[in-house]
């Protein structure tokens, strides 16, 4: 192992430090930069050759001068993990922020993680009840899924994430839950809001919190989610916890990624983001799932704010291609005073079919949700028409659909911040509003379910 300190910095650019004439240094190896005044900063090797080594400094290069010394630790970055991390608040680079003692590690794990062998994965199929109708009824979350919230600035995505964290449960199961929360570049105020809620509900005891705030070095955001996910993997696969990971805000993470790309003078891809952003994001999101024969699981809810509410923005776009669906928060719904403002039309849960149906939720679930989707879409289309021709010009059938769309938003989408709806309740509510449509319009539902659950027959 090399413990030599090099004083051969030749160039400092953005977050990068170039060191010359070193002995062979491994790719991704950890480095410590020591300032003449004795303070130290951590970094990682991005490029290594006989000629020079490029180090990316996590805490930013402010204050580094050419006279600073660089030491290479001979190993890649590792995260000390332990069961005692539950209830702790750590910085974006893993140092305690809560005044508590340093973490005594049970193990030290590689923060980049390895890919789960697809053969070893277990298919996610356990329904997680979040108590939010638009999720449970229409975009069901299952254990081991990664389901991001696509939001925009000023929308209540944090409230939604907190409500999910608070209410999430697997029906009929008594298992140990843990929340790993990684904040990247959020404001102090937002952080306080999260902390307060965690304390209010007692969730902090079962949580590990990583905080990289808006004024912390941007570059640290690259490692914050990796530390969080490494911790989550330890809790899930070693200790058997059912872990919910909340990552907020992915947009800030991607900005940091772009910053490094620019500093390295890489050829940029769309909107200046690096061409490897897909692979990089995948290396975070894919660390969700279940493994055959292991008790624990990792479910991920990344939050990202879409610049200009643009779902085709590279960050949202690439995320959508990796995650198993998305929950989209819509500004129009907020304006109409509806919380949670989840727009079901653009939302999707790809694993929904795995987690619903007989024995999991209820046999009619799929049919009812399909029917609501179709009817809501038709009703929304009609709103445009009504604006032009007026309600009177509509046929009876069309009027019913128009009313359905309104009812759907008011009865299904809207609910209280602390309202925890059971799945039965959600499905019954959906039937209730579907009953306002003509029975012949219910083309997505098998006859047997209509006879079993339609309020008209149910009462009889």
């Amino acid at each position: 192992m090399t413990t030599k300190e090099y004083r051969t910095i030749s160039q400092i650019a953005g977050p990068l430090v170039f060191v010359q004439k070193t002995e062979p240094i491994g790719y991704n190896e950890l480095a410590i930069v020591r300032m003449p005044d004795g303070t130290e900063k951590k970094g990682q090797v991005l490029d290594t050759s006989d000629d020079f080594v490029v180090v990316q400094v996590f805490e930013g290069t402010a204050g580094i001068e050419k006279a600073a010394g660089v030491r290479f630790l001979g190993e890649t970055m590792k995260m000390p993990v332990s069961k005692d991390m539950l209830g702790r608040i750590l910085s974006g680079s893993g140092e305690p922020l809560d005044g508590g003692p340093a973490i005594i590690p049970d193990d030290r794990l590689e923060i980049n993680g390895a890919a789960i062998n697809p053969w070893a994965r277990d298919s996610p199929s356990e329904f997680i009840q979040t108590g939010i109708s638009t999720i449970d009824g229409m975009n069901t979350l299952v254990r081991g899924q990664k389901l991001p919230i696509f939001s925009g600035s000023g929308l209540p995505h944090n409230e939604i994430a907190l409500q999910i964290a608070r209410q999430a449960k697997v029906l009929g199961a008594q298992e140990e839950f843990a929340v790993v929360f990684a904040a990247m570049g959020i404001t102090n105020e937002e952080a306080q809001y999260f902390m307060k809620d965690f304390e209010r509900t007692g969730a902090l005891k079962k949580a590990v919190v990583f905080l990289n705030l808006a004024d912390d070095p941007a570059i640290e955001r690259i490692i914050t989610p990796r530390l969080a996910l490494t911790t989550a993997e330890y809790l899930a696969y070693e200790l058997g916890y059912q872990v919910l990971v909340i990552l907020t805000d992915i947009t800030n993470y991607c900005e940091a990624l772009r910053q490094i790309g620019a500093a390295r003078e890489e050829v940029p891809g769309r909107r200046g983001y690096p061409g490897y952003m897909y692979t990089d994001l995948a290396s975070l999101y894919e660390r969700a799932g279940r493994i055959k024969g292991k008790k624990g699981s990792i479910t991920q809810i990344p939050i990202l704010s879409m610049p200009g509410d643009d779902i085709t923005h590279p960050i949202a776009d690439l995320t959508g291609y990796i995650t198993e669906g998305q929950l989209v928060a819509k500004r129009e719904l907020v304006r109409a005073g509806i919380y949670p403002p989840i727009d079901v039309s653009t939302s999707l849960s790809r694993l929904m079919n795995e987690g619903i149906g007989k024995g999991k939720t209820r046999d009619d679930h799929k049919a009812v949700s399909d029917q609501c989707y179709a009817a809501y879409a038709e009703g929304k289309d009609l709103r445009g028409l009504v604006a032009i021709v007026g309600k009177d010009a509509l046929s009876e059938r069309d009027r019913q659909f128009l009313d359905f769309a309104d009812l759907f938003e008011k009865r299904i989408v809207r609910q209280g911040r602390d309202e925890d709806r059971g799945i039965e309740q959600t499905l019954d509510l959906m039937w209730e509003i579907l009953a306002n449509l003509d029975e012949s319009s219910l083309t997505r539902i098998d006859r047997k379910y209509i006879e079993k659950y339609h309020p008209k027959y149910k009462k009889a």
């Binding site: 006989d50 590689e110 697809p118 053969w119 994965r121 298919s123 692979t279 493994i291 069309d398 997505r444």
Partner: protein, 577 residues
């Protein structure tokens, strides 16, 4: 030839070495852990290698070994039912060696060296053979595996054996050269063939909108572009499950781990609708999820194609699905940018469209030496950023493929699945397949198909008017067009992949659907001439019955009875009023 050198530089998956003099695309073992890589550039005395595994911790000065061979696929009995990573390492094998996570530096052969296969010769001593001649058969899962003389070998059979052998045992001797069941072929080169021939038979998939309106041929090429969530993967999986190809190669290229797991868990449980045997018995899966090394992702489509070509050469119809070719293109971009190459459009390398055409050109139907044919049909999913079809990968693909299934997020939002837009999709094969449809489905099928397309076109025009004035303002005849096309959409075009009856529609049933809708239309037309309102027609019992038929077990019977008289009868009673 210098076979051992040392590492000069490491930057992510791109490693520069010196002291070796390999050829382009030779496989190099990198570092102390012998990570597998491939030569992608030679500059002066330096060699640039893309490494298929994670390079963390690899340092300059570590050794590199030149294997002197390009990346090859192992071909022989045992491929079917396998699950490989991008460079043909069996995933179950990797799991037993490295545990639940993919670690590195583990080599695992593509074919099991210990398994024994029952070899039955089909030639005898003294027979003349050439490359591609079938010398024997082996039962492999649900198909007959044909052992062929490898490319580049020909002569006279000196010796041929019968019995149980491993893939590396000698089963024949051709002019002094021992032949084993396993052969190797470099993945980046197409396997040789004598002649290509035009495809004239559709690949039947049981998906109504595909088979009836936009058919793909055996040996044809198609693309499914669509924004995320529009159903590319479900469509690809439906094709893998239900298409009437004898062999299916499914490449999960840079896609989701959980989705791959779904394929891995559901496929073994499914039955081939034709043979009743497990579907896995005719399937090869290649899984390189988005967080597995990027260079192996780049190689995965070539590996899959080579396996497909091997079965094509035996005379089978092979369907190859690549999900998604955009991830493959991005892998190229990522490696290209690490090489600091001059980028083309949107950062993709300038050779992107050349690589895409090379890949799709490996599809096609070939004539074998004995006159039989074999084919590879390729369906590539494309994931255009932001659903924007003008981006380079979609455009590069559309220039080559002959079938375009356009996924539409508007349709998805109203849960119209498959969300394939019937106005923008096309199949350049549909005209040339008319003969086949007439001979194998019904004489009037092409006519019905054209009628359906016209109806949908007309509906689209009417919808524009409806958007302005509402449907009540339309004359009865146009209202009927809307009503009938709604029936086409809801009954025929929408198909539920998760419903056990609806997931697969045989060609004969597809015809019955169209036939009954057309009959409904014709009777209704007459009825409105007799002053029956469209509202009344829409509420007819037979209309509801037709609509509901597709979810019923006895759908064929229901359709038969509707066509056979039920429809006519109810319209008669309408007329009486």
């Amino acid at each position: 030839m210098a076979n051992e050198g040392k590492i000069f530089r490491v930057a992510g998956p791109v490693v520069t070495a010196e002291g070796i003099s390999p050829r382009m695309y030779d496989v190099i073992l990198v570092g102390k852990e012998k990570l597998m890589g491939e030569v992608i550039k030679i500059v002066g005395d330096k060699v640039v290698i893309q490494v298929y595994e994670d390079t963390a911790g690899v340092a300059p000065g570590e050794p590199v070994i030149n294997t002197g061979q390009p990346l090859v696929a192992e071909l022989g009995p045992g491929l079917l039912g396998s699950v490989y990573d991008g460079i043909q390492r069996p995933l179950p094998e990797l799991m037993s060696v490295m545990g639940d996570f993919i670690k590195r530096g583990v080599a695992a052969p593509g074919l099991d060296r210990k398994a024994k296969w029952q070899f039955t010769p089909t030639v005898k001593k003294g027979d003349k053979v050439e490359a591609g001649t079938i010398i024997g058969t082996v039962p492999e899962r649900s198909v007959v595996h044909k052992v062929m003389v490898p490319p580049g070998v020909s002569g006279v059979i000196d010796d041929i054996k019968q019995g149980e052998f491993t893939v590396t045992d000698t089963v024949a001797v051709v002019s002094g050269k021992p032949i084993m069941m396993m052969q190797k072929w470099p993945v980046r080169y197409g396997r040789p063939f004598q002649k290509k021939t035009a495809p004239d038979e559709p690949l039947i998939t049981g998906q109504r909108i595909l088979d009836s309106l936009f058919p793909l041929t055996k040996g044809g090429t198609g693309a499914i572009p669509g924004a995320f969530g529009t159903g590319k993967t479900v469509t690809q999986q439906q094709l893998a499950k239900w298409s009437d190809a004898e062999i299916v190669v499914y490449i999960g290229c840079g896609e989701r781990g959980n989705e791959m797991t779904e394929v891995l868990t559901t496929f073994p449980e499914l039955e081939d609708p034709k043979t009743g045997k497990p579907l896995m018995g005719r399937t090869i899966l290649i899984a390189n999820t988005s967080n597995m090394p990027v260079a192996a992702r780049e190689a995965s489509v070539y590996t899959g194609m080579t396996l497909a070509e091997y079965y094509r050469d035996m005379g089978y119809n092979v369907a190859l699905m690549a999900d998604s070719t955009s991830r493959w293109a991005e892998a190229m971009r990522e490696i290209s940018s690490r090489l600091e190459e001059m980028p083309g459009e949107e950062g993709y390398p300038a050779y992107l469209s050349a690589r895409l055409s090379e890949f799709y050109e490996r599809a096609g139907r070939i004539v074998l030496a004995d006159g039989r044919t074999g084919s590879i049909s390729v369906v590539g999913a494309v994931s255009p950023p932001g659903g924007d079809l003008s981006e380079p990968v979609t455009q590069g693909t559309l220039r080559i493929v002959r079938v375009f299934w356009a996924l539409d997020s508007k349709l998805r939002e109203r849960r119209h699945f498959p969300a394939i837009n019937w106005l923008t999709s096309y199949s350049l094969y549909s005209g040339s397949l008319d003969g086949w449809y007439k001979a194998n489905v019904a004489e009037d099928f092409p006519e019905l198909r054209n009628w359906t397309m016209e109806l949908l076109q007309k509906e689209a025009e009417l919808q524009e008017i409806v958007q302005l004035v509402g449907s009540d303002a339309l004359p009865e005849e146009q209202k009927l067009t809307l009503e009938v096309s709604r029936l086409v959409r809801e009954l025929f075009l929408q198909q539920n992949a998760y419903h056990k009856v609806d997931t697969y529609s045989p060609m004969a049933r597809q015809y019955k659907y169209l036939k009954s809708i057309k009959m409904f239309n014709d009777y209704a037309q007459k009825a409105i001439e007799g002053d029956v309102s469209v509202d009344t027609i829409a509420k007819m019992k037979v209309r509801t019955k037709l609509q509901g038929s597709k979810l019923e077990e006895n759908v064929d019977q229901i359709l038969d009875s509707i066509i056979g008289g039920e429809l006519a009868k109810e319209f008669e009673t309408l007329g009486a009023k």
